[in-house]
Symmetry: C3
């Protein structure tokens, strides 16, 4: 694809500074960009890379406007960069149709406007709406629903009765609706508690590869609108994740924990069961969240603390050995003083 | 389904307090339960919810017997709740039969009383016994055995020669028998050590979605009777997990570690290789277990310590910055005293 | 298989001490080995097991040569053990051929010397070279390349345009090329940034079960020659892992992190985004690597420190409660002294 800087600026509702007639053929990161490439700066700390970049044009914020380069000025360069990527790399639409080599049980409902690859299984009572894409190896259990426009990548499993909303993206290997981990007399009888609830995933959710979401014991495990979950995350039974929350890779969320709206949980963090995390809480990578967190808190560490408190403690940790030595020294000196007195 | 409180009590070998003729239509958690619902209280700390619940009846322990509600009194309310769930939500039995769209290699043995979905692969020499259910995308390698009544959910892979016992449940995406991670000259030559052992999974084991269990280098990786493993757990080559143990989500157990009976390992914990964990050890979530643990110990932290010791240290950690300040202050004051003396 | 000790020694370029005519039928670990078994000692700390082993012969290093046993003396016993395993357990070669029950789209190129199992999907534009083995449930997206001799175990997904080198092994459930986790306005608008790059995996890489590797936002995520990655590892977009590096199970590596050559990252460690880890760095299990690490460093802890510094701090940590008590005691005693003076 070829577009001039001016054409791209118009598409992005941006303003050109420099030569709008320059031709752009691709988009690259600022370190890799060369002749014919568009790049972007979304963070002032990368401004120093501006002089060295070989890019033919740069998307920047108004307050980063510099000289000697061709700029497209926009209020949010990262958003504009995303839109430019979508312009240069349009999604390849699949041809609707149900493969002869897919396994559709009698009593399943599959829209003729869906795309069903070979090797897909759809069980009876399930409903696949229009615009859905099911890649090979996808399994849709009985009475499950996949609503309009959702894309399930290869080898995704959706267990019976689970509900997937509109425009949801499930990456390869995602499991939705496996049994929650519930046993009476753990370590002894290990009697299985039946897990008869469901998973409900609302519209515009995206879930990363090989992430697992267990069905509710009763009721539902609920992933609300526009939640984004990364790879290899574990969501236990009856968890609720509030809309627009972000869960980074390898996080584990234990049973019945409730997260508010717009919560951000860093990678490899853990959340214990039956607690509430308020709206817009941010938890650092590796945080171990062991009790309720009030809205808008920023927490870190395991067990978690307020981030500023965590920073203060962490700054002291390397001093512990010297502190220990200083105490021994003080002990001796005080003993000497005590003898003299 | 409709059952009276008296009928359910009889089924649970429980005793009715209140009105046994009340009709129950579903089972719900205490917060969600309303008219026509049965609920339960398994822990005294939830007793305060009793007054507020809309449930038509509550399963409780004899010492929780209260007034103004209909009760079913049983010695273990959580176990009774599990049984009640199984009563109201009976498992849907699959019709035995081997799908024409399954791929059964010549020389494989598949019981006519097994349920084999489309898109299953069973390699030569493998044996699938009666009552087994293999969902779509399941792959059974050569000479593997799946014993009576086991259920393998979609997209489970069992590598060659691995042995799965009776009534085992493998959730979607589980991998049994992948190569252990063994290389001579790690970081240099990276020469692969062949992994020629197997995985043996004994009766009544349940394994969560996308968990991985590597085959032994030689001999076996061994998951003993009635072990329950949660989602996204990593079990390395030649690990042994003793019967009735519980392994919570995202735990990693390194090569040749041996766990005793009835061990409980909390979520996201890690166990280093070649160590022994005694019977009935409990390890907290996130524990980093780096050396042998005697039977019946309760441990926490990384590196792990006895739980009571860990609690004592954790209580002191927030004081480190103030301790550091106090030491500096003491230093000055002792110096002044020393000058005076 | 039966081989004499002398025959095995010749195959391993080793020297016999003891009776070379003894017949070996299998290979076992030193604890399990009995009559007819070969075993090995690769580490002096296991020398004490030599007297007790029932093995008929032992592979050892020249400086471990003992008496009363049959030995095969080699410079690297672990490497020799690996070779002996390969001798006793030769890989079973698959018959080349493309199953009629595989789904090969028009416009895909599949070598007649490849092995394609039933239930494999290869999309148009993809190229499968000779000697490749694709097991059931493998999905190869459009325009992806799988080069000579690579083995993709069941239910592996390779997204569009990704490049897999020669002799690569991808274990069951691996996902290559899922979208990187990029959203503008995280926790708010959550606007998806298209992920239009690829994953490039070079020759001789091995990747463990259910590991996930995201495609680059632009450009590539790059796993270089002979890298070995364990199970359930998360590799984010635009990460580069230098050749011969070793990544142990459940590690997470965040976006755009660059690892040098021969790096070893212990299990459950985490690496934050956009940092550089120098050649031959070793990071302990559970390390939380939060900033650049110079070459050849050994680091541990979260946040990471030099290993020797970490050891020094960890040794002091159990003393914190006593330190706190000692400070309180000193405070009182100094106060008394101050009053006297």
């Amino acid at each position: 694809m070829e577009k001039t800087v001016a054409e791209i600026a118009e598409y992005l509702n941006g303003r050109v500074v420099g030569d709008g007639s320059v031709v752009i053929r691709d988009i690259q990161g600022i370190d890799d960009a060369g002749q014919g490439d568009l790049t972007f700066i979304a963070n002032r700390k990368y401004l120093k890379k501006l002089a060295a970049t070989g890019a033919s044009a740069v998307i920047v914020h108004p307050d980063m406007e510099g000289q000697g380069k061709n700029f497209i000025i926009v209020p949010d360069p990262y958003v504009a960069f995303g839109k430019a990527l979508a312009l240069f790399y349009p999604e390849q639409k699949e041809q609707p149709g149900v493969s002869n080599a897919a396994f559709i049980e009698d009593g399943a409902s599959v829209s003729s406007e869906a795309v069903i690859y070979p090797g897909v299984t759809v069980c009876r009572g399930a409903r696949i709406e229009k615009g859905v894409v099911l890649y090979s190896g996808v399994f849709i259990g009985r009475d499950a629903v996949i609503a309009e426009g959702s894309i399930l990548h290869p080898n995704v499993t959706v267990y019976r009765r689970c509900l997937i909303g509109k425009r949801v993206i499930l990456h390869a290997g995602v499991v939705v609706g496996s049994d929650g981990f519930g046993f009476a007399g753990p370590g002894g009888a290990n009697l299985k508690i039946p897990q008869v609830g469901i998973v409900q995933i609302d519209d515009d959710v995206e879930i990363g590869a090989n992430t697992t979401i267990d069905r509710g014991t009763m009721g539902r495990t609920w992933i609300q609108k526009s939640v984004k979950i990364d790879n290899l995350v574990q969501i236990a039974h009856n968890v609720v994740i509030g809309e627009y929350s972000i869960i980074v890779a390898q996080v584990g969320i234990s049973g019945s924990a409730k997260l508010g709206k717009g919560v951000i949980i860093g990678g490899q963090a853990g959340v214990v069961g039956h607690i509430r995390i308020g709206d817009h809480v941010m938890a650092a990578a590796r945080a171990g969240i062991h009790k309720d967190v009030p809205p808008h808190s920023i927490v870190a560490g395991a067990p978690h603390r307020l981030h500023r408190e965590w920073l203060r403690i962490e700054a002291s940790v390397p001093k512990i050995p010297d502190m220990n030595n200083a105490i021994a020294d003080l002990m001796k000196r005080v003993e000497i003083l005590e003898k003299k007195n």
